[in-house]
Point group: C2
Chain length 473, copies 2
């Protein structure tokens, strides 16, 4: 492994953490986020709150300064105001700290004279002291294996997705949303203004990281284009890479500048880059989540032949449109399988084609399970997608829908082909709880779950296209 | 008004309804749907259950046949099996019934020899007897003004949207989803196989209907292309028309054939048609709902200059991308307004641009309200979109998000420009209930509410494009 890999791996796995600038008086203050998260996560080493007021926090001694802490401090999470940041770096250097995560905003992204030079000062100090800095203006590290976290409620289970996100809020959204659908992360870093460690460093690290097999990037800009090109080519050759490049137009570029002081760059350049290196380009955070679900649970559907099984004639037609519009094929159900199904099915023959509308007469669960078992054995199809839509059900049929979802789940077990299930997010609270319990069944069984028809079809298209290009290369 | 208009208007407003084929023994049988719906809706005239078994249903006498009913019967909802359908038409003719809605499937859409000729027989009988037929294989009529309905839980309030849907399930989805977001319908008809009354008849009726000012169509095919062309041109000249043409590709066409026995037709033809007559083309049911919300609550945003106010730097960037990618502009906030805001805002200056990231430091509600008041007075923007995303919020900030939504709602009242609000559908049940209460505030105040960033941006783009083309013509 490279020197950079080793040094970043130590940063992702610190032995002790100090929380500099944490509020002692106000338990609801935002500076408590990291403290609560690391404690909830069960961080193994010592956690030191630091605040000039001293005192006690959750049964722990509050140190008035870093110098006061008796043991070593590997990692500092700083929530002090921007003006004090350089001083913190100097204090950290004295203490032998390896890395600092500056959460606070108020640096180059403000574009104001009052703060001019502050961020440059951090960059200079990082170089001078050898301390590595994450940020400023970011959420830092979420790493289940070291129990470092910036969100209470994030999964403690480690996975194979590495996510480099310039934005904190977008990273929280993705960790939550993908997490609720069963995706697990090796490392996530929200790195903001990148005064020292930047997207290139993290990309190099995750490319070499044995715990990471899928890389996702949310970028607002790139600091060193030449190095980025070299690294992204290497990363994409080793692992699937999903990229959101934010800041599409004029106002978007203005927004990235004021958000993380990034230069957005032309969209055409990014489009070309994605084609050249076979990056999976994602348009937004929702799509990124759908893509992570697909890469995690259906990494290679193996082709474009789809089997669609849903409820409702019109729904089935629209679902088919979403897939055909994206270059998928729905092979015609062979007569031999049709006959087998007609042998026991109460369904009208016209519904037993592909797509299959398995809804008529509120059929019995065991019939559906038996039919899906036979259908998923059909060797002409590469994958199967089942789907229901809570809002199309009248109240009296609602419990039937739940049963249907459960039957599909039962039928899915032991299937030969990759499977996905789509169930819309229900609007009415009383229906939402029931919908959630259907989702949970699929998520726990590690089946790709989606909330929208176009969302599922588009993610599958992008992943299948990725695999086709990879094999063509 | 035309003769067709009068005859259809009578069908949409019957004085009495008979439910032929309704199950008397099983309260959960699907044939009860219409009975429950019309009763819940408070249909004013007599409702007659008809079943050879006789007896009583919910305190009403069950008639063994139509002949037994003492009074006139205007409208029959038939759920008898396909084979008996022709006999029902003859019985209805004897009774002087004006129209029959055949719900049951099992006609031309099966493509089977056993049922061949049955649907043709209905067409022939309609011509012979003068009785008009809706269906078969459909859900019939939802008309709040006459209290005719096929869904319990549909809104009793009448509105201005007329929806012609070949599919029953898709129509229920749209009525529910658009209804939960405040859209109200004048008339909805699910007409299935169209053995007699078809999309052309209903289109002609809604074009002339004074209660309908927006027309939506979900079509799987068209029976008389020449007449349809003439009518769609006339309709689009009078009212905005949204069209979903389902059955895009090979399997989609197969699915429409087996669903409603429709011939799908080439997609290019439909695309040309939409351009020529300035129809708003919708790709799927979710988008149709977003479009209905937009046309109902922001019928003409008046231009492409957007003001975006949200929470979170990265979120704001991605939201801007969704709008700029679709040809919207975000004018730069003038220095005069910036200075006004900086006079009282705790927000960092860089967040006060356009888009506006109004999240820092968990600012006070009255500050946000005051800022939004000033911002929506800015004369350079045509409309304003506020947005929050529940999943990007850590648990400790969740209650802040609710407060933020409420403040935006308060600030919106009395605004000069059209407004929209986007709040994702929350995944966790405990958050969902809170999200639902935020939505309800906006919906009740008749503000355009969306659940997704791309969804909102795309619906606004389609509506703005519609208005531009209309004005250009």
């Amino acid at each position: 492994m490279t020197k950079l890999y080793d040094s970043l791996d130590r940063i992702f796995h610190p032995q002790s953490v100090a929380f500099v600038g944490i509020s002692i008086s106000n338990p609801f203050h935002w500076t408590r986020t990291f403290w609560y998260s690391c404690r909830e996560f069960g961080f193994q080493g010592p956690l030191y709150p630091v605040n000039p007021s001293g005192g006690e926090l959750d049964g722990c001694r509050v140190y008035k300064s870093l110098d006061e802490i008796p043991g070593n401090v590997d990692y500092v999470i700083s929530t002090v105001s921007a003006a004090i940041a350089p001083e913190i770096v100097r204090n950290c250097a004295r203490k032998g700290v390896k890395a600092i995560h500056f959460c606070t905003a108020g640096f180059d992204e403000t574009g104001e004279t009052a703060t001019a030079g502050l961020q440059g000062e951090l960059t200079r100090l990082a170089g001078e002291t050898g301390i590595r800095i994450i940020g400023p203006n970011c959420m830092g590290i979420y790493c289940p294996s070291s129990r470092l976290s910036y969100g209470t409620g994030f999964s403690k289970e480690a996975g194979n997705v590495g996510f480099i996100s310039q934005s904190g809020a977008n990273s929280i959204y993705v960790i939550h949303e993908a997490g609720w659908r069963g995706v697990r992360f090796s490392k996530v870093v929200s790195y903001g203004n990148a005064c020292d460690l930047n997207e290139c460093d993290f990309l190099e690290y995750l490319t070499d990281d044995p715990e990471t097999s899928i890389i996702a990037l949310y970028l607002e800009g790139v600091s060193d284009g030449r190095r980025f090109l070299r690294l992204i080519e290497k990363a994409a050759a080793k692992k699937p890479v999903i990229l959101i490049k934010a800041g599409y137009g004029e106002a978007g570029a203005r927004a990235t500048a004021t958000h993380t002081a990034s230069l957005a760059g032309s969209d055409t350049v990014w489009e070309t880059l994605c084609r050249q290196f076979n990056l999976i380009r994602s348009k937004n955070a929702e799509e990124l989540v759908d893509l992570l679900v697909t890469l995690t649970f259906m990494p290679d559907p193996g082709g474009r032949n789809a089997l669609l099984i849903g409820m409702g004639g019109g729904t089935t037609v629209l679902m088919t449109d979403e897939f055909e519009r994206r270059g998928f094929r729905l092979p015609v159900l062979p007569e031999s399988i049709r006959q087998k199904l007609l042998g026991f099915s109460q369904l009208a023959g016209n519904m037993l084609r592909n797509p299959i509308d398995y809804s008529q007469n509120m059929i019995a669960s065991d019939e559906l399970i038996r039919a899906v078992d036979i259908l998923t054995d059909w060797d002409e199809v590469n994958f199967c997608v089942g789907f229901i839509r809570p809002s199309q059900m009248p109240p009296y049929a609602w419990s039937f829908m739940q049963k249907w979802g459960h039957s599909m789940f039962t039928a899915y077990r032991g299937s030969r082909i990759p499977l996905a299930f789509i169930c819309d997010n229900a609007v009415l609270p009383e229906r939402h709880t029931a919908t959630y319990s259907i989702w949970q069944e699929f998520v726990k069984a590690r089946i790709a779950l989606y909330y929208s028809y176009p969302g599922a079809a588009e993610a599958l298209r992008l992943v299948v296209q990725y695999n086709e290009r990879k094999q063509g290369a």
